[in-house]
């Protein structure tokens, strides 16, 4: 190798070294700054006595960590009380593309306004493009108190 080639290798090596020094901290930083979210655990949403209808929209407040803030956000879920008293809590966004669906009392369907997805009151898909039944929340009952945890995908 002549002098020119050796020098060229040095330049390439140095550039690679500087790049390498940077890569890991930067990746860790970017991953770290996007991993914000809720506390793992259960949040109480309602008492069984508060549920009137067979299907009820329940609003509740949740404390979340949002980047550098800790704040309270308002959320809601659809709660179904089966005739035998069992409770199902649905995540309130359509499994197709995440639009907010609503409960149609007359047809007894959950209906998504975006692309016409329809689900029955147990969350099974009836019509439209959604790929799977409605997502549910992990549930915990303590006496009367209903608490929800992670989202369970069907």
């Amino acid at each position: 190798m002549d002098r020119r080639k050796v020098l060229a290798r040095i330049v390439q090596f140095v550039s690679a070294a500087i790049g390498a020094l940077f890569v890991l901290p930067v990746i860790a930083f970017i991953r770290g700054s996007s991993s914000a979210g809720r506390d793992d655990g259960f949040d109480p949403i309602a008492k069984i006595g508060d549920l009137g209808e067979e299907v009820t929209r329940v609003s509740f407040a949740r404390l979340i960590r949002d980047g550098w803030m800790v704040r309270t956000i308002q959320e809601y879920v659809w709660v179904r009380k089966k005739p035998d008293g069992a409770i199902v809590v649905f995540e309130p966004h359509c499994t197709h593309l995440g639009c907010a669906y609503s409960w149609n009392q007359t047809n007894q369907h959950f209906e998504c306004p975006c692309h016409g997805g329809k689900f029955d009151k147990d969350g099974n898909r009836l019509a439209g493009p959604p790929p799977r039944p409605l997502d549910r929340y992990e549930l915990k009952m303590e006496g009367n108190q209903i608490s929800i945890g992670k989202i369970l995908k069907a």
Binding site: R4, L7, A8, I10, V11, V14, S15, A17, I18, L21, F22, P25, V26, A28, F29, I30, R31, G32, S33, D39, G41, L63, R65, G67, W68, M69, V70, K140, E142
Partner: protein
């Protein structure tokens, strides 16, 4: 694909063209500063981009977001410190680059515009420093900027108008912060990029000035930039980057207490490269102040801009330019002397002196129950005779314990007896005292003063109620053989009320909790425990 790109935009040939710039053969190490600066500016762009992923430019958001970046994000403190120290490095290399250009008389015909573009870049860099200074919105940046704006107000006629334009109103607040942010991350990077391109294009067009030689510029042999000079440049860059990376890991960028516009005690000081101005202002008082704030700096900048047109000396060698050398020497030593005297006159913190009551970042806090609680015991048992500072003929506690450190329970017993003090210490209290006195004897006893009073008693109570046999805090406690309770230095997002309820009856808030209920404490004891836990968590 590559061929297609190449045929359309000639990427490779442009790059080659750039690399094959012909340089005078004896171009050498003095010419690496420009490339180092370019690399450092690139690094500032990159770290700045990463910081702006997290930063929030509003008075309520700025400080917490910077704190979050420093304490919660992996690599966050290092990246911010890189950005912070990178700015200082740029100033250093701008200085070297400028002096090198001056010594080579490289500003002369036909390179006047290269010089002027460079000076405009220097002004941009100072503006970067000024605008970036405010962004963390801590005491230091708030009061530092308040002073800068006052200085601008002394400019005749337009001063107050300019200052209020920058502030976006009468007071330093949300609008000022947004403006500084916009200038720092949008306007200045654009202007700087354009100026860098202009500076490099002009450099390319007129070439670089060869080192001094008898033959003059025409007869010198030329070599290509790559790989000869580029090797020196990249080695220079690597060395500087390694230094910067190391420094940023060793010394984190400072973050003071949050900005408090009502504080009257804070003495702002500018970054080191503006210290000379700060010091200069001490010599001009009253109506003469304007000389230090406006006249002298303007003259200096103007002189730099006019230099290529005023310097008519045909020779470049240093020994034929006595006036130029004298001016350089005087300016550099004046700068050095002013900076030195500003540093020299800075009040130095004494051991045992009370800091301005700032809660340090979580990582640096004193957390262990025996140490935090120890301060409580120290106050109860020792402060009737001793103190942390010198008082009259009495030695301070630090000197005392450094000379004769207590050996244990019997030592304290004897010590109290000898001095006629009626008091007793429990075993736990002896341990607490020993822990805290170890800190008093150490290098940072002032950190003890940053512990909020309520947390002290909480920790004392925590330590004496054996909470620590299950819970571990900062490596202390958790000896219980069968029970492992959560480490309390882990951060939880809970309110004080929640903690009080939780201590009282854990299952009422965390149904599956294995922690037994503690019904038998007094109200103020619950309160103090919760305060201590909050001190650990927030």
């Amino acid at each position: 694909m590559w061929k297609w790109l190449e045929s359309r935009i000639r990427l490779q040939s442009t790059w080659r063209h750039f690399l094959e710039e012909r340089l005078p053969e004896r171009t050498g190490w003095p010419h690496v500063f420009g490339s180092i600066l370019l690399a450092l500016i690139g690094l500032q762009f990159l770290t700045g981009l990463l910081l702006s992923f997290v930063y929030s430019a509003s008075p309520p958001g700025a400080y917490p977001s910077v704190r979050y970046l420093m304490e919660q994000l992996p690599g966050g403190a290092w990246l911010r410190s890189l950005h912070y120290w990178g700015a200082s490095f740029i100033i250093v290399f701008v200085g070297l680059h400028l002096i090198r250009t001056f010594l080579y008389a490289a500003y002369r015909r036909p390179r006047e515009l290269t010089w002027i573009a460079g000076l405009l870049l220097l002004l941009c860099i100072l503006a970067f420093g000024q605008t970036g200074y405010l962004l963390p919105w801590d005491q230091r940046s708030y009061w530092g900027t308040a002073v800068t704006l006052r200085i601008i107000e002394t400019v005749p006629m337009l001063g107050p108008k300019i200052a209020s334009l920058i502030r976006g109103g009468a007071s330093l607040g949300a609008l000022a912060l947004s403006r500084f942010y916009a200038i720092h991350v949008v306007a200045l990077p654009m202007i700087t990029t354009l100026l860098v391109i202009a500076h490099l294009a002009l450099l390319r067009r007129y070439g670089i000035t060869a080192p001094w030689s008898r033959t003059g510029e025409e007869g010198i042999r030329k070599i290509p930039f790559y790989p000869y000079q580029m090797t020196r440049d990249s080695i220079g860059i690597l060395i500087v980057f390694l230094m910067l990376f190391w420094l940023a890991g060793q010394l984190y960028a400072p973050l003071d207490a949050p900005a408090d516009p009502t504080d009257t005690t804070f003495v702002p000081r500018p970054d080191w490269y503006f210290l000379f101005l700060f010091q200069l202002l001490r010599y001009f008082e009253g109506k003469w102040e304007i000389i230090g704030t406006f006249v002298l700096p303007s003259i200096a900048i103007l002189a730099l801009f006019l230099l290529p047109f005023m310097d008519r000396n045909p020779r470049r060698e240093l020994r034929y330019r006595p006036v130029a050398m004298l001016i350089l020497l005087v300016s550099v030593s004046a700068w050095g002397w002013l900076t030195y005297s500003a540093v020299d006159e800075m009040p130095k913190p004494r051991a045992g002196q009370r800091p301005p009551g700032i809660l340090p970042p979580r990582a640096e806090r004193i957390k262990r129950p025996s140490e935090v609680g120890g301060l409580y015991v120290l106050k109860q048992k020792c402060f009737s005779c001793h103190s942390m500072t010198e008082m009259g003929s009495r030695l301070n506690l630090q000197t005392l314990v450094r000379n004769r450190f207590p050996t244990g329970a019997t030592w304290f017993e004897r010590h109290f007896q000898e001095n006629g003090i009626q008091t007793t210490l429990g075993d736990r209290e002896v341990e607490e005292l020993m822990s805290v006195l170890r800190l008093v004897a150490g290098n940072r006893p002032d950190l003890l003063y940053t512990i909020p009073p309520k947390a002290r008693f909480g920790a004392h109570f925590f330590y004496n109620s054996s909470c620590g046999s299950c819970h571990k805090i900062d490596g202390q406690g958790g000896e219980h053989p069968r029970v492992t309770a959560p480490d309390l230095t882990l951060r939880l997002l809970r309110s004080k009320e929640w903690h009080i309820k939780h201590i009282h009856d854990a299952q009422s808030v965390v149904p599956k909790s294995k922690m037994p209920p503690f019904f038998h404490y007094e109200g103020f004891e619950y309160d103090a425990l919760a305060e201590y836990i909050l001190y650990l968590h927030t």
